[in-house]
Amino acid sequence: MNWLNTVLLILGAFLAVFVECAWETPRQWLGVQVDLLPCLVVYAGLTGETVTLALVTALGALWFDSLSANPLGGSLPALILLGGVVRRYRDLIVQDDLRVQMMLGGAASASAPGITLLFLLSLGYEPLVGWFTLWQVGVMALSGALAAPAVFWTCRFLSRTFSYPQIRESSFRPDRELKRGRH
């Protein structure tokens, strides 16, 4: 198992949550805070081991809830569901296609808040929900779609940079070697 990938993804989740808390510009301009955690969970589901996915999901959700008024664990079911679905069908997903990445990022960023809101409502909490929620989900989906390729590219770049390069299989085959001279 490649622990570096796991550590990088956990660090990414930590920084994503911090940026969402400390960077207020999107909220001031659009009235919505963008969320990068769903994109990271999608990436972890596509490329990581089960342990990596579980750790990124659990720690990301707990950090998110610790800075939010959510009950602790409130955003966990949405991320578990997202990661689980992506992990289940990852062999059928064309990961390198930009449009697929955008669609995955958009769908994940739109569904994560929806599932979390349903979970909170089912627990008896009263989050702020109204017509403006549609705008919020729309902006989150769009921002997720735009951010997903960047997240994928950054994660792959860091993973490539900090890990040993894969040994490529040589095309040399001794049985096909041309031998000169008399035999």
Binding site: C21, A22, V32, S66, A69, L76, L117, M140
Partner: protein, 269 residues
């Protein structure tokens, strides 16, 4: 079918959700603060960077501008001193009259200035984080305000950081009063249905309220959380509610909740 490691991971995560959701609120709050503690170094770093940026910006302000500002502030300070003296006299007079009438003496507010370090990352709550906690004398439910008006109340209070539930969050309802001449109508300030966080709903107003745009809304002191008379905002418009049994007004907050950098916490006895 799910493979064994996936099944184990899924089971652990579901169990984690169940355990966390069923934790007692106090334990959950402690755990939240512990998890939030991971971010303290980063918050400290950003505060230092902001401070350094501010100092760098201050360093390039021309001396003439600074001198003009000092002159203006000195004049303002003098005027405020006179008003302060007048207010002291009025306070003494008020205390004397209260004593004659047998009404309890009013205590002056003690304020603590704190810095806002972060905002709720979830879009369905309205809360901010501040850089002070129980070691600074803060405790849950203390009112929080800025010069313009009410901001909210303290929620979870940690050792060195606390959460402020902003006005407009479902967890921060405010007993309010419309103050306009003889009109004194009580209502409840509740979350609004607008994307603009400054527009909230004032509900449970009496059916025959003579509401007009621009009327001042202040805290009523009912409920015991907020002292009476803190400015909240002003009425924007009104409409009948609950099949005409009551009136509902939209209120524009005096404080701009989108741009909070420093806030005052009222240290009530």
């Amino acid at each position: 079918m799910l493979k064994r490691p996936r099944l184990i991971a899924l089971t652990i995560l579901i169990l984690l959700v169940l355990v966390l959701v069923s934790l007692p609120s106090r334990k959950a709050a402690q755990l939240k603060l512990a998890m939030g503690g991971f971010f303290l170094p980063l918050f400290g770093l950003t505060s230092s960077l902001r401070l350094a940026g501010g100092q760098a910006a201050d360093a390039v302000i021309p001396r003439r501008v600074l001198l003009t500002q000092i002159e203006q502030l000195q004049r303002e300070n003098q005027s405020l001193r006179f008003r302060g003296q007048q207010a002291d006299e009025l306070l003494q007079e008020n205390d004397r009259l209260r004593q004659y009438l047998g009404i309890q003496k009013q205590t002056l507010w003690k304020l603590k200035l704190v810095r806002v370090i972060g905002r709720d990352p979830a879009n369905w709550w309205r809360s901010v984080l501040i850089d002070a906690g129980s070691r600074d004398g803060l405790r849950p439910n203390l009112p929080v305000m800025v010069n313009e008006g009410l901001v909210g109340r303290l929620g979870v209070v940690g050792l060195g950081q606390s959460q402020v539930l902003l006005v407009g969050d479902p967890g921060c309802l405010v007993a309010s009063l419309i103050q306009d001449g003889n009109l004194r109508d009580h209502g409840m300030l509740a979350p609004g249905d607008s994307l603009d966080p400054r527009i909230l709903n004032l509900t449970h107003l009496s059916r025959n309220s003579a509401l007009k745009p621009g009327q001042k809304v202040v805290t009523s002191g009912l409920g015991g959380l907020f002292p009476r008379g803190i400015v909240i905002g002003e009425v924007v418009d009104s409409r009948p509610a609950e099949y005409g049994l009551s009136t509902e007004a939209r209120v524009k907050l005096a404080a701009n909740l989108n741009h909070l950098e420093e806030v005052w916490v009222l240290l009530l006895p």
